[in-house]
Amino acid sequence: MENNNRRGFMGKAFGAVAAVGAVGSLVAMKKTWDPLPSVKAAGFTTLDMSIYAEGVMVTEKWRGKPIFVLKKSERLMAQEKGNAAAEARNIKIGNDNFMVAIGLCTHLGCIPAFRKDEGNFLCACHGGMFDASGLVLKVPPPRGFDIPPFKIEGNKLVLGEVGPEWQAMKDNGVTL
């Protein structure tokens, strides 16, 4: 009986040591899979917004993701007049209005193609559609394009840095 008590104690003592070790190694394993510091540090892109032509969709790159940049034409601006959801997504630089968004379908991350004639985006993966402001026209995407964190510096746009305009969009639920 006394021996069994000792064995029981040894078993519990080993269990305690093993549990500490298991938790420690799980932490190490989790951290080993985290994005590396070099990956995180490369997360900023600066765009010169004066070079874009009206109505031409240009794809830039930020954190390995495509960024759609569309300088809105007057026709587009007239079309979306009164549409508060669309207007809230415009980024104003000087007198120009831009749609700047992460060019990945919010469904599962395919890149929708811009259809110049229709002036909208169609995703080939699951048939989702977005308008020129990045709002959903056809499901499955659950929400419009996400807008990357940005900061306006003169006529430059820094992606990856949080500026007041982006913070306002986030607070108002315009983007995630």
Partner: protein, 405 residues
């Protein structure tokens, strides 16, 4: 120390140390198989052979494959395909086997469902089998990343995005799985590890479990009849081979098994040499490009049915139903409330219709998953996906109303 005597032969020497005769009896000559079976009972052996083909071809590919984003594509498409003598053979064997193994798995699965081989003590065979299906799916997916072509990249993007959980927006989880904002070096490195080490080890362990689960309930038979293996094997050993309902695993059953394997291998190598194209998606011969989505992204054919359940719905409902479809098969032994463990066609109209409808609906889902999600195809896909879910929800009801046969 145990007592050892001077060995009279090599066999005796081994016998004293490893009990090889005993092992041979337990594993083969006195492992009993019902006589009342057909060629569908050979699918297990075909799967073992295909797994070995995958392992051997994989070993040779591994010697030249380079798991970096800059070199992976060329190491497969240039080094292995053009420079290495017979490199093309290993690649085509590996690619074709990865595709065909799922065909056989599905046949194996539906054979099990048809003959009720997941019931009456055979539940663990079914569950371990479904775990193997999950492990094979993970193995297939991780392997598909390695050539680092357009389909590799975009399949990786889409599948890892599933882990954001729709409206939960768990992007931190997605970035953790990738080790980056998008699939890149960290992603390729870890999926390479998973493909060549962790998942294969898990598969081998699960195969052991699957076989072990078979020992006590034994293999099912064509009528689902209960066989007293002790009585029948005694009859066989006492000389009444014709009267016994069972036969030896080896060499009796194995000889027929290997006959079917032989036919399978002829079909398999016909595909490898003359028709390997179906296993090599043309889009994946373009190197990965994070700024260009291919016009149609679809998984390999064996994932299409579940992909089609994801597709017609909004993201949250789609994910829930997709998750349902992934796990529901595992629970089949408990959802099927009927006491009958006999072939589906003899269990009454309701289950008979259920079985054939499930089989044909999964074929329809597979076909729709391959087609672009437009017009008519969208509609058929939606109806099929709903039918799939409804069928599973109805199964406990129709099986509990089933009459005991």
């Amino acid at each position: 120390m145990a007592h050892f005597t001077k060995a009279t032969s090599v066999k005796d020497w081994l016998n004293q140390r490893l009990a090889i005769e005993k092992v041979e009896k337990v594993m083969a000559s006195e492992y009993w198989i019902p006589k009342n079976i057909n060629f569908l009972w050979a699918m297990g052996m075909i799967l073992v052979v295909t797994f070995v083909l995958l392992l051997v071809s994989g070993i040779f590919l591994l010697m030249y494959y380079v798991p970096t984003v800059d070199e992976a594509f060329d190491s497969v498409n240039y080094t292995i395909m053009r420079e290495v003598d017979f490199g093309w053979l290993w690649r085509h064997v590996h690619g074709v086997a990865a595709s065909v193994v799922f065909l056989i798995i599905y046949i194996h699965m539906f054979t099990g469902i048809y003959y009720g081989s997941y019931k009456k003590g055979r539940e663990m065979i079914w569950i371990s089998g479904m775990l193997l299906f999950v492990a094979f799916s993970a193995e297939a997916f991780s392997g598909y990343m390695l050539p680092w072509g357009q389909m590799s990249y975009w399949a990786g993007m889409v599948i890892t995005n599933l882990f954001s959980g729709g409206s939960l927006h768990a992007n931190f989880l997605v970035e953790w799985i990738r080790g980056d904002y998008v699939p890149a070096q960290a992603f390729l490195g870890r999926f390479f590890m998973l493909h060549v080490l962790l998942i294969p080890v898990a598969i081998m362990g699960l195969i052991g479990l699957h076989f072990a689960a078979l020992r006590i309930p034994h293999v099912n038979n064509q009528d689902g009849g209960e066989i007293d293996f002790d009585v029948e094997s005694k009859k066989y050993l006492d000389g009444d081979k014709a009267g016994s309902k069972v036969m030896r695993f080896a060499n009796d059953f194995m000889s027929k098994d290997m006959m079917v394997v032989g036919i399978f291998l002829i079909f398999f190598f016909y595909l490898v040499f003359y028709n390997y194209g179906f296993a090599m998606d043309a889009v994946n011969f373009d190197p990965a490009d994070g700024l260009k989505t291919p016009t149609h992204i679809y998984p390999e054919w064996y994932f299409l049915w579940s992909y089609e359940i994801l597709r017609p719905f909004n993201i949250d409902l789609g994910l829930v139903l997709f998750g349902f479809a992934q796990v529901i098969f595992v629970f089949l032994p408990f959802i099927d409330r009927s006491p009958n463990s006999i072939p589906a066609n003899r269990r009454g109209t309701a289950f008979k219709v259920w079985f054939w409808l499930m089989l044909s609906n999964m074929i329809v889902l597979t076909a729709m998953g391959k087609l672009p999600p437009e017009g008519m195809f969208s509609a058929i896909g939606l109806v099929s996906a709903i039918l799939f879910i409804v069928q599973w929800l109805a199964l406990p009801i129709i099986t509990s109303m089933e009459k005991k046969v």
